[in-house]
Symmetry: C2
Subunit: 269 residues, 2 copies
């Protein structure tokens, strides 16, 4: 048990967006060792077929399991939508949490909720994954979704609070003002970067913004605590990527919210 | 020779953006058979290492050569920048043209040119490929480059003439107004979709817009004519992709400017 306590948490994403999840986990669980895998050679997953996404996700799962992780966090919405069951099966006794379930649980637990808004990539929205997940908890909740394909490139360009970002968010979010949603789930790893500007765009100041990255970090903390597996002596962060793209460090540090050392490139598949 | 005349032209790109090149080639050479390969499973190349891009490009080159193409057009700027020499070597006697050389030749052939502007993806701009290519013709020409990472996603979202597109183009292009450029090369396969709006953003109405897709189509026509290899009885277009992404058809038809039938998914590597 002592060994498992000191084992790292595995987090993975199709690329570096999932570093917003790593950031939230480090903030919530500063004494845990973390292994992050970003599949930068094959990003983005959202435009790929479900079959392809599943085979990539299983390769990464095995990579993390070989490194002895005590828990796997699926930071990628596309993987959460298409491959969660396969990963749970592959992981055996190791608990697997995913951003979609975490964000959903957070939304449905808010009081007097009957209408939830969700923004995500085209792939996440088309998969209906958030609708299905929310309706599994409460089929009476109305879900209004909006795909926001421009937000990921804006986040990567660092345009997170300029006129283009504002105008883009107005295009995507203005219809929510009349819709009566009580919460808005940020259903993409990149979107936490817009968390400060979104409330300025939404006219209805009562809409609760649900950050899936924070939600899954809280779920992980609760789960590890339940299992008696909280680490008290760790705090190391290791980052593996399948390719080292241009601007990698600049982007990674923006998403992670701190400096990043010791990135290793590994080949999968 | 008759056989080679009737052989198809091979065109390839990292994804579907190169269909703007296919469109220009169909317009310029309506009687040619064309085989297009879009590496949709592994797009985008621009964020990948040069080594990875080279190995992908060679796989596609061999795919096209096996199908008996009489000419290869590299529609992808990233491949043109990193793998042109390797492809020329692999292709042997089959002529290879690339978008960077074609756009460059077009720019430097304009009268009294001493300052050229280039817009492209971050990878293309960082590679300095257009600067090198222009300076190989005339080292006295000043080249001013601008990376425009948001334009590809805007083109894919279909936001090619709305307020966000205008504002984004102002961010990227306004500095060209004072720069004294005489031409602006659209150094990315997606950018021809903004060809109508860019002159509205540029205050200097004398700046010549150079569309690399049209440039390479003209180069291909000239080359085939020189070699006596113009086809007079073809006109078939076949499209191969390595994955069938979501919205594929909608996007492909927007870029190709016509309807698209008979797309085949093939696995490389």
């Amino acid at each position: 048990m002592q060994d498992l306590k000191n084992a790292p948490i595995g987090i993975f994403d199709s690329g570096i967006g999932g570093l917003t999840v790593a950031k939230a986990v480090i903030d919530a669980l500063p004494n845990e060792d973390i292994i992050y895998f970003g599949d930068t050679a094959r990003v983005p997953y959202g435009i790929k077929s479900e079959e392809t996404v599943r085979s990539y996700a299983l390769e990464i799962t095995h990579f993390l399991l070989k490194r002895g992780v005590k828990m796997i966090l699926i930071a990628c919405n596309t993987v959460s939508a298409s491959a969660k069951e396969e990963i749970i099966q592959a992981a055996g006794d190791i608990p697997v949490l995913d951003v979609i379930t975490a964000g959903t649980k957070n939304a449905v637990s808010l009081p007097k909720h009957n209408h939830v808004g969700v923004i995500g990539t085209l792939a996440t929205v088309n998969s209906q994954a958030y609708s299905k997940s929310i309706h599994a908890y409460d089929p009476t909740i109305t879900v209004t979704q909006q795909a926001c394909p421009i937000l990921v490139p804006l986040a990567e360009e660092g345009w997170i609070d300029n006129d283009v970002a504002l105008q883009t968010l107005h295009h995507y979010l203005d219809h929510f003002d009349e819709s009566g949603i009580q919460s808005l789930i940020l259903g993409c790893t990149h979107y936490p970067l817009f968390k400060d500007i979104i409330p300025k765009v939404l006219k209805d100041g009562n809409i609760e913004i649900i950050d899936s990255a924070e939600s899954i970090a809280e779920s992980a903390k609760t789960k590890l605590s339940e299992l008696g597996l909280l680490n008290e002596s760790g705090g190391e962060f290791r980052c593996y990527v399948s390719d080292r793209p241009q601007r990698f460090h600049e982007l990674a540090e923006r998403f992670l919210g701190r400096s990043l050392n010791g990135v290793e490139v590994v080949s999968l598949g």
